[in-house]
């Protein structure tokens, strides 16, 4: 664990056992501890970075936080924040309470923070590695770190003597590919999947023909056994065989496969998005964050965390140091990326309000 190596990760509170004894010692210590935390983040040479927690935290500690401290003397501290923490970031900027200095966000969340009135800094940083990161994965506020994608997965035992579905059209074909199906209880991705299933060409997907999507969704509505809302739910359902087919983020399906469940991922026309670094507007530590961003753009560093997270490194050169067995599981691996489609965050930021309302009304009708 990180604590042993003297790396402080506040979200995980790995300050060592003595600190824990203090905590156990009395309420006073624990109740005054936060003042201590705030002092920490106000100190020089220390930045606090939001990440999604869990395996990200472990992966980033090894890939970034430890070597970054060694290389620059700046301590970077990973903190797990809630899912899509846009509201909290807005709050931090509005009140100038910088609990975090930068954050790993989806590009959609970053776009939104920009659109809402500039809640993130312009990156204004460059390096050879940042230059050579593909254009699709970055903009002036955002530099991609990892690519995640929506695929569908199926239970091999449910298609033992039958041909399993191999694309979204077959996912929607309940007659020739019988099996219990799930869909996400959210219009993102689900609308695109319906259109792809209806034969819309990948390059004609955006702007989405919403009416056509709902018409296609109508054909499958009564056959959907589970409308899922959370990622952990999808891995659980695939593991126990609650459903035979499920649209899922590739990392969640991979967890299940790695545990030995008979599950297979279908990569055809997967819908990818990028997660990357953003600097929170007005943080006094912006320049240290830029140092971190330069450091994290190094493909060799990005290769390290793939041991914990099955998402694709943004820098293509990372594959030079990733073992083939791991590489094959990742979304940016050439074979997997071949038919991939970029989920259009700009389209959704314009239309999500209206389409979400329509989608929820459709579900209830």
């Amino acid at each position: 664990m990180a604590g042993k190596d003297g790396i402080t990760r506040i979200g995980k509170l790995e300050i060592g056992r003595r600190r824990i004894l203090h905590l156990a010692g009395g309420a006073t210590v624990a109740l005054t501890a936060p003042a201590y935390w705030r002092k920490l983040s106000a100190q020089e040479k220390r930045i606090v970075i939001r990440d999604p927690g869990g395996p990200y935290a472990e992966g980033f500690t090894e890939a970034f936080h430890k070597p970054f401290k060694a290389a620059t003397g700046i301590e970077s501290i990973g903190v797990a924040g809630q899912h899509e923490p846009t509201s909290l970031i807005k709050g931090m900027v509005d009140t100038k309470n910088y609990t975090w200095d930068m954050a790993l966000l989806t590009s959609a969340a970053c776009d939104q923070l920009v659109a809402e009135g500039g809640y993130v800094e312009k990156l204004n940083v460059t390096s050879p590695n940042i230059e050579s990161t593909p254009k699709d994965f970055k903009n002036e506020y955002f530099i991609g770190n990892n690519i995640f994608t929506t695929v569908f997965a199926y239970r091999k035992d449910a298609f033992k003597d039958k041909k399993p579905p191999s694309n979204w059209a077959e996912y929607y074909d309940t007659k020739n590919f019988p099996g219990r199906r799930a869909l996400r209880k959210h219009p993102f991705d689900t609308i695109e999947q319906a259109l792809l299933a209806d034969g819309v060409a990948p390059d004609k997907l955006y702007p989405c023909d919403i009416d056509r999507a709902f018409k296609k969704l109508n054909t499958i509505k009564k056959d959907i056994k589970v409308w899922w809302e959370g990622g952990a739910q999808t891995s659980q359902m695939l593991k126990t065989g609650e459903v035979d087919l499920c649209p899922v983020w590739n990392g969640r399906a991979q967890t299940v496969i790695d545990e030995g469940a008979p599950v297979e991922i279908v990569w055809q026309n997967n819908l990818w998005s990028a997660e990357g670094w953003c600097i929170i507007k007005g943080t006094p530590k912006a320049d240290m964050c830029r140092e971190f961003i330069k450091f994290a753009a190094d493909p060799a560093r990005q290769a390290v965390w793939t041991k914990w997270i099955s998402y694709g490194p943004a820098h293509p050169d990372a594959y030079k140091t990733i073992p083939e067995a791991t590489a094959k599981k990742l979304p940016t691996y050439p074979a997997n990326f071949k038919t991939a489609i970029k989920a259009d965050a700009a389209y959704w930021s314009k239309n999500k309000d209206k389409v979400t309302e329509q989608f929820e009304a459709w579900l209830l009708s």
């Binding site: 300050i15 209880k185 891995s235 979400t356 009304a361 209830l364």
Partner: protein
Amino acid sequence: MAASAQRARPAWIGLWPILPALLFLGFLFLYPVAQLLWLSALDKASGDLTSAHYVRLFASPLYVKVLRITFEIAGWTTVFVILGAYPVAYYLATSSERRRNALMLWVLLPFWTSFLVRTFAWIVLLGRNGAINKWLQALGITGEPLDLIYNFTGVMIGMTHALMPLAVMTMVSVMENIDANLPRAASTLGARGGQAFWRIYFPLSLPGVAAAGLLVFITALGFFITPALLGGRLETMITQVIITQIQTMMNWAFGGAVSMLLLVAALIVFYLYDRALGMSTLAGSAAASQGEGRPNPVARLGAWAGGHVLDLLGRICDTVAGAWERVFPARPDRPRADRSRMVLTAVVALVIFFLAAPTFFIVPVSFTTDAFIEWPPKFFTLRWYQAYLDSPTWMSATVRSLMVATVAAFLAMLVGAPAAFILARRSMAGKTAAMALILSPLIIPRIIIAIALFYFYARLGLVGSSLGLVLGHAVIAVPYVVVTVMAVLKTYDERLDQAAGSLGANRVQTLWHITIPLIRTGLIAAFLFAFITSFDELTIALFVSGGLATTLPKQMWDDSLLKVNPTLAAVSTMLLVFVTALILSAEYLRRRAAAR
């Protein structure tokens, strides 16, 4: 009357105990939240007054429909919870103290497992390949797996289970104070069992039912994780819609408008409830019928209809019992078995089994070698316990959660209990408004409170502090304390206090030696509710701490990003053992002290 002693002073001085609660909620809830909700009346870009967000609310049928679904789900949950909890509470209240304390441990089981673990336990138990379906098929009862989750049934099972302990505790604390001699007196006067229960005992227990129903209903309105994970296409709760607006859309104005819709609708329901049976059962005296309050027609109609329904229920019970005895006459050579008690015992056993079921499942799963929460578990490993005990992260999260919850619960008691005394015993202007304020923290979605507190704390320098977390948790715990203590005071015989006073005890002595010991169960229940509210809370913790200080729910949530692994089951088992040991040793010490 107690009031005569204070005639010299203005009446409101006697009402001071309610002030801490009103100030506390006014300062830490009403002021920050109102500021946030005010956004719903403003144009996002220009900041001018606009009705646009409210127009949109009614332009689409969606929001009113989701509101209706939310009220239906909360309403049915309340019905099932009360139906299940009443017999258990009755059984507990009429058992010996030793048995009551033992059974209470079972009733409280769901409290000690986090909502995340509990919900996943149901997913695995009720799933297509889950334990229940496998047993049903093995026994040949069903051929095909039944759809027990991802529909209304699943939501009801999950929500009823989560809220039943709340109802049992509330009702037991009221029923304990019912004089057992009253139903006996009715029997002496010729009432058969059914009549004695329905016409004497049941009306006396109504304050408990009313309080439990109110708490369960309002708490259920705010549920979203359980319906999201156990429900299907049609089970969308309004809190989910609000969270989507706030988080995904960053549309705080419209999110605020939807919250206002929920708040207004819930307060209208509360107002009607109050008019029909509320304050007369929950607080004050049986005002409507004794002419002390305003005899309003709704209440009079309710009382008239209620009386007849109870009479009918009593007759039905007695007829059934009579018929039973005619079919199976009592054998004179055997002692007469108390059949109604046997039926009651069976029902109680069933309900308690339901409450304990996920725990029976979680404990074995914590020893599984599988990396998922799955049934049947593959034995045997202690690695999940090792992962928990070896991790400073988990340990500090546990310690922090226990401490924050303890302090928050004490604070909520300190603020809430005095207010409950005033609300239950005194008549004052604006009582309904005060109750509405006190209940509001349960109705307003947590995310709204969390954001509002963040902005407020930023000005006070409380962001990231445990004090901020404690205060935030106390805000949502106060309503539970107030309602629970009010309910138990309703059945409390105030003449006992007056007797103590006439024997020379002063106010403090009376409170300390007479009142508090007599309402002990109610106070313990209130404390437990406050404790659990804080102990299981995630949203406010995430905002206020910014993720810097880990609490147990946050650590669990963090740990289950990709999958829910058995560490969570191990943590729940440890907590269960810890809390049970704590309660048992407290009980042992108490008994030893009593014996001395």
